[in-house]
């Protein structure tokens, strides 16, 4: 029995402690990574707050292209071909 007790105290206990410390260290590092990912995702979400402005850009592009088409059509009529 004394041998079993010594093995537990001198072999099993250190191994368990080392393994648990490693698990704890990795888990703690994951917490930091998660925090950084969260901060990046929230920043990305804030950056996309301007996305609805694309609707305005879309309409402006349509209007501009329509004006360009009208202007080009006029030039096509006025200016002789090469």
């Amino acid at each position: 029995m004394i041998v079993v007790a010594l093995v537990l105290a001198l072999v099993v206990l250190p191994i368990v402690v080392v393994l648990l410390r490693n698990v704890l260290a990795e888990t703690t590092s994951i917490v930091g990574s998660i925090d950084r990912i969260t901060a990046a995702a929230q920043a990305g979400s804030r950056d996309l707050d301007a996305a609805p402005l694309l609707l305005t850009t879309q309409q402006q592009v349509r209007d501009t292209v329509a004006n360009v088409a009208a202007y080009g059509g006029s030039l096509d009529v006025i200016v002789d071909d090469a």
Binding site: M1, I2, V4, A5, L6, L8, A9, V12, L13, V16, V17, L20, R21, V23, L24, T27, T28, I30, V31, I34, D35, I37, T38, A41, Q42, G44, S45, L48, D49, A51, L54, L55, T57, Q58, V61, R62, T64, V65, V68, A69, G72, L75, D76, V77, I78, V79, D80, D81, A82
Partner: protein, 182 residues
Amino acid sequence: MTAAGVLLIIAVALIVAALVVYLVQVIVALQKITKGLDATIAAVGEIVEKSQPVNDIVGDINTNLDAAVDALEGLLVKKAGLPDAMGLLEGLYPGAKAEGLRNFPDSTTVRSPRIGEVYTRGTLTLARLGREAPIAAASPNGPALRDPRYGSAASRTLYPADRPGRSPVIGNEVRDADASPV
């Protein structure tokens, strides 16, 4: 109880205590991870929701811009000809000829004139437009260029009576020769 038994109990107790201490810390860390992932998932969901219409909008913008580019390139080549068009583009945007026009594969290899600040043909076209524009055909006075008198009406207003038999005098005697009060 023997000493061995006591030692065994102490060893087991230490192992259990180590397990408890470290596993509790791991549990706490995992709870933080769970909370962090919840916040991350919420933010990612917002990103997905906000970026959902972007593809369609950008695609529509690109389609419109593509149509405009095609039309303008076609118009330029139609009016100026491919060589002059590429010369104009190269003159305005150095290096543009190397990229060429999208719908004209020969645009990168065509031999184009070097066109600087003045494009003579375009200048003449603009000058002619002032007198020969189709809109002028609707003038009550008739087509502008086809009526020389109408075309030179502005210059003839300088000499409403008879045109002098000499060229205008420019120099010291101008003031004396000018009988006007001004």
